[in-house]
């Protein structure tokens, strides 16, 4: 029994009941992503343009697990929106599999911090939503929803409604809903930030396993450095406004990793020291904006 399981006995139990391995038919081919000289800025009322992202050059390999850390306000989320096609860069280009992103697509699914599940649908219908929009038949939808609910250990909750689930369960439904469209890229925007530590540890294990089973490219945004080191095969540190890439670190620690692994802690420390500088800049800049009487 792992420490994470000891820490969350109930969750661990459900992990044991569910089969350890799934015969998952995941057809999607993981995608590579390329950002070139990406800049995004907004016109703020009565002020200079706010530059959220500046001069971002980034290559993400197919099947990579990339974690992005940075102080709040560094444009991490904007970066995900650009790749998701929910927003467009002011300058520069975003390519997914060598094609310019022109809009949202079910090959790139975003998972939000607040799950964004639809409360008027059951868990099963939520998972089927993307497939419904893709025009898949009811039978296929049903079958696949079942499969992905099993993947996140929520089979048996198909007919529940979102308000009946705990925070951790909701986030797992969101993961199942995202995966059910078989995206080649999974974009995660601080998905576990609102969860308690035990649930988060368990979801780290699940996400790592899902990443292995599906092989999809994951871009995971977080402000938790240790989480980034625990999960990522590469960690990118962004600067405070304008968001640029400050440094990056390949994480070659063996998997499955653990949050309390001293090697994880050590690497996290390194990143954290750099992050602190950026956080201090963020704090200083916010103090500057306090109106003086």
């Amino acid at each position: 029994m792992s420490l994470a399981q000891l820490a969350a006995p109930e969750a661990a139990q459900s992990l044991h009941i569910a089969p350890a391995h799934h015969m998952l038919d995941y057809d999607a081919v993981p995608a590579s992503i390329r950002l070139r000289a990406v800049e995004q800025s907004f016109q703020v009322r009565k002020g200079p343009r706010l530059v959220a992202l500046s001069n971002i050059d980034l290559d993400i390999q197919a099947g990579e697990f990339l974690c992005i850390v940075g102080p709040s306000g560094c444009g991490k989320s904007s970066l995900l929106s650009l790749i998701a096609g929910l927003a467009f860069p002011t300058n520069g280009e975003v390519h997914v599999n060598d094609r310019v992103v022109t809009g949202p697509g079910t090959d790139r699914i975003l998972i939000f911090q607040e799950h964004g599940l639809f409360p008027w649908l059951t868990v099963g219908q939520n998972v089927e939503f993307g497939m419904h929009m893709m025009g898949l038949s009811r039978r296929v939808r049903r079958e696949r929803a079942e499969q992905y609910l099993q993947l996140v250990h929520l089979n048996g909750f198909r007919d529940s409604y979102i308000h009946q689930l705990s925070g951790g369960m909701r986030q797992r439904v969101a993961i199942a809903r995202a995966l059910a469209t078989q995206p080649s890229v999974l974009l995660m925007d601080e998905p576990f930030a609102a969860l308690d530590a035990q649930t988060r540890d368990m979801l780290h294990d699940e996400l790592e396993r899902i990443w292995k089973e599906t092989g999809c490219t994951i871009i995971f945004v977080t402000h938790n450095v240790r989480e980034a080191v625990r999960l990522g095969s590469r960690v990118i540190l962004m600067t405070y406004r304008p968001g640029t890439i400050r440094s990056q670190l390949d994480i070659v620690l063996p998997r499955p990793r653990r949050m309390d692994d001293p090697r994880v802690a050590l690497l996290a420390r390194e990143v954290l020291d750099e992050l602190r500088e950026e956080i201090n800049k963020a704090v200083a800049s916010e103090f500057d904006h306090v109106p003086r009487s």
Partner: protein
Amino acid sequence: MSRVLKNLIFYGSILGAWVLLTHAKIWPPYLFPAPLSVWQSLQAGFADHSFWVAIGVSMRRVVIGYGLAVAMGMALGFGIAASRFLEQTVAPLLTSLQSLPSICWLPLAMLWFGLSEKAIYFVIIAGSVLSITISMESGRHAIPRIYSQAGRNLGAHGWRLFVYVLLPASLPHLVSGLKQGWAFAWRALVSGEMIVAGLGLGQLLMVGRDSNDMSMVLAVMLVIILLGWAIDGLIFRNVEGWFNRRWGLGATS
């Protein structure tokens, strides 16, 4: 102390005070009737079917009027949602019109339609259509952005985004708009009936006044209160509560 007991004591003491006041004979009984005579008026009204007829007529009017108001209010709401032009022109007009009490439409309705059913429907619609449209409009803006983002991200766009995401997301607001519209329709109905129409609860109030029958007036008021409360409290509040729970908006989730 349980809630029921508290309310028993509360209403019991009101009734007690009422009885004591009538026994004190401060005011003549034709101005301040005893609870018992109000109760007798109530019984008599239901026994000779005049109350039942009035309830039937009033309910029919309010159902038709409110039904039309819902249809028009929703059509207007969708129109405003779909057109930026309407949103910037009609919506502010509606908001300013809402400050007009619905009874103010009555003189206009009487000139246009005379003392007819049409005038009543007009007042009911004028009273409730605005609040339905306005709450649809404000509900649409209160939809969390995350729903449309998630919907678009999962491949919904155009009318499918509207039907499968935006519309269901706005249902709780729509329901509270309908509830508010109902309350306005009910008020408009009674005030309209008092002046315009033959039959109906409002008219019954005026019959009581004309015949100096205070206990009948109070009995009809009781009927109006109970009916309004029953529909608002038992139907609308439950539906609204159900939506808020399911949509995760309520305090108890």
